[in-house]
């Protein structure tokens, strides 16, 4: 079953949450931000170039123009490759683990897989972020030495910060799978 719903992030921008239920034991949630709009790119580029041209007028040195072009290109590449995250995916597989993939605008993907044996729980938590107080979904990792402690907190959907309603959506279905997992591990 596929579900695609539209939410908004903490800054008011719109997000799209896609839920894919492959099987009762495997679900995928994919939060995708709007892609980089051509308008903003052109705006930034034009402003930089205009500034460069102004400098060029001041001191007749064509180095500035070439440097400006170079800088804008490099900046755009760097932005697309390292900064702009288009899509964040949370794949949760019963008794295998949780996998978080964030795919950049340039197509580069960085994946982080957490085994289910390490996962203690998935919770929604509050944090002070910049000048806001936001909710965020996070995965609590077991402390290997003592089972009730928490060794680490891994935030999910870190770049696109969805609002509470969206998080609750994800949280519920994660909890279903985790509950099923705990029941199964308890019974044998």
């Amino acid at each position: 079953m596929e579900g695609e719903r539209s939410f908004s992030d903490v800054c008011g921008g719109r997000l799209v949450l896609q839920c894919r239920y492959y099987s009762p034991s495997c679900r995928e949630f994919c939060v995708s931000c709007p892609r980089l709009s051509l308008r903003s790119v052109t705006a930034v580029t034009c402003s930089v170039w205009l500034a460069a041209y102004g400098l060029f007028i001041l001191c007749e040195n064509s180095m500035i123009l070439s440097a400006a072009i170079f800088i804008t290109l490099l900046g755009l590449l760097g932005y697309l490759h390292f900064v702009k995250i288009d899509q964040e995916t949370l794949l949760i597989i019963d008794s295998v683990g949780i996998q978080m993939t964030s795919s950049y605008a340039s197509g580069k993907e960085s994946t982080n897989f957490i085994e289910m044996s390490k996962v203690k729980d998935v919770v929604i938590n509050e944090a002070i972020y910049m000048q806001k107080v936001i909710y965020y979904l996070c995965i609590l990792l077991k402390d290997p030495v003592e089972p009730h402690g928490i060794s680490q907190v891994v935030p999910v959907f870190q770049s696109a910060k969805p609002r509470l309603d969206c998080l609750i959506e994800v949280y519920r279905s994660c909890q279903e799978i985790l509950a099923h997992q705990q029941a199964a591990s308890a019974s044998p």
Partner: protein, 581 residues
Amino acid sequence: MVLKAFFPTCCASADSGLLVGRWVPEQNSAVVLAVLHFPFMPIHVKELLAQVQQASQVGVAVLGTWCHGWQEPNESLGPFLEGLGAIFPHEPWLQLCRERGGILWSCKVTRLQAPAVPDTPREDQVMLIFYDQRKVLLSQLHPPAVLPDHQAGDATASASGLAAVFDTVARSEVLFRSDCFDEGPVRLSHWQSEGVEASILVELAKWASGPVCLLLAGLLSLISAASTCRVFRMWPLSFLGSKLSTCEQLRCRLGHLTLVFSPQKAESPTQLMRKANTLVSVLLDVALGLALLSWLHGKNRIGQLADALIPVADHVAEELQHLLQWLMGVPAGLKMNRALDQVLGRFFLYHIHLWISYIHLMSPFIEHILWHVGLSACLGLTVALSLLSDIIALLTFHIYCFYVYGARLYCLKIYGLSSLWRLFRGKKWNVLRQRVDSCSYDLDQLFIGTLLFTILLFLLPTTALYYLVFTLLRLLVVAVQGLLHLLVDLINSLPLYSLGLRLCRPYRLAAGVKFCVLEHETGRPLRLLMQINPLPYSCVLHTYRLPSCGCHPKHSWGSLCRKLFFGELIYPWRQRGDKQD
């Protein structure tokens, strides 16, 4: 709980047969290692498994049956496969099947011990996870898990989850030795290691490396023994050795070589990696050095360099002279005390004069010195670079002297002024309580204090200016040396081998795994593809960078600025107070 069946991709197209693999009860997953084709003698199968088991402490067993779609599906096959379950009793018994289409997979799990519940809901919960046997076999998980002790057969119980799978595959390598072309009693299909000839060469290299290592290690031990003998312990030599960066570099290289050629073999993969990295960096270093050497000794470049060097030194000295002349005038319209200005200026000018004569004294020998220095490049580029930095330090010794004089003078002034300023305000520094107390001075104390304060205050700008100028010069030199040291450290500590490995064989260094869901239709088991998640370059650098051996200034920027302001000496000669702490 879901049953996970790890299935090698290379067996997906194999003929029907038995699934040979290991059953991991902890997270109830079946790791299929190979497919054993029909026809076979059960007795042969059993002894093969026995061999494998005692060779590689892994509980290898027949997990179930595998039937591939393009034999005609006859009804007799079903019960026959059931019967096999009786011959090779295993719990649970998998029946993996791939239909004609090639994409329709089905898997059936039966538990003989539970006839009462023929199909409990967890029977149909099967997950097929495909993995690339070769990559999993060769890859090395990061961070490395606890080393499984090789006595117990089920040592992998300690290794959790996927580490267990990796470990199983890695340790059942003997199973993959058997080639599918040789006519054994049983035919297996699994990953085949290709390129046998290359492996022969590797064997030869391994066989040869032992004695070579022994020989070199002996030599190195001799050298190190020589370097640590008493002669070098005596005062001037040891002092120089600690100050000259060349000696540092040589010492460091010696350590590297001893590490590389140490006869005992590395037990853990990290140590192996470390050895490889060191070897590669040494080789690269020497190669660069030789290139430099060839370039230098071609077309009498040394001579040109030597001829160029003396004028440069002269020029530097002259520039300094001009600078001093400027300072002795009214530099930038600053109000300086003329008398003190003249004194300082003459003093420094005399120094420069000494320096120039010194340079001219040794000008005839420069070329030979340079020639010998150039030879040192065959020990590696880093040695040459550190020698260069030492030479720079020697050639700019006068700047260093100026800096020291200026700093001392300025320091004295600053401390005097600060204490006199306290007296001016009628306070004094209480040493016991570490704070400023108010205290009542006598009249004459006050008078003399204020007199000195006034004089020092009016003389401060002059000394401060001299100090500033020479500090800037000194900082310039230090920066150049720092750049050289940075370069040397880069060559020393870059883990080139690991980086190359990451570049060409990404799966060798695994940060973990990632799954992607293959297309899935209802009623069929879920199929996942397990891929190796390579280690990011930053982690590679962080994990494998070699310990750098350089003599850097250890203090931070803030403390550096503080020291500069208070006129304390900075790198490399420290003050006594710094030595203590």
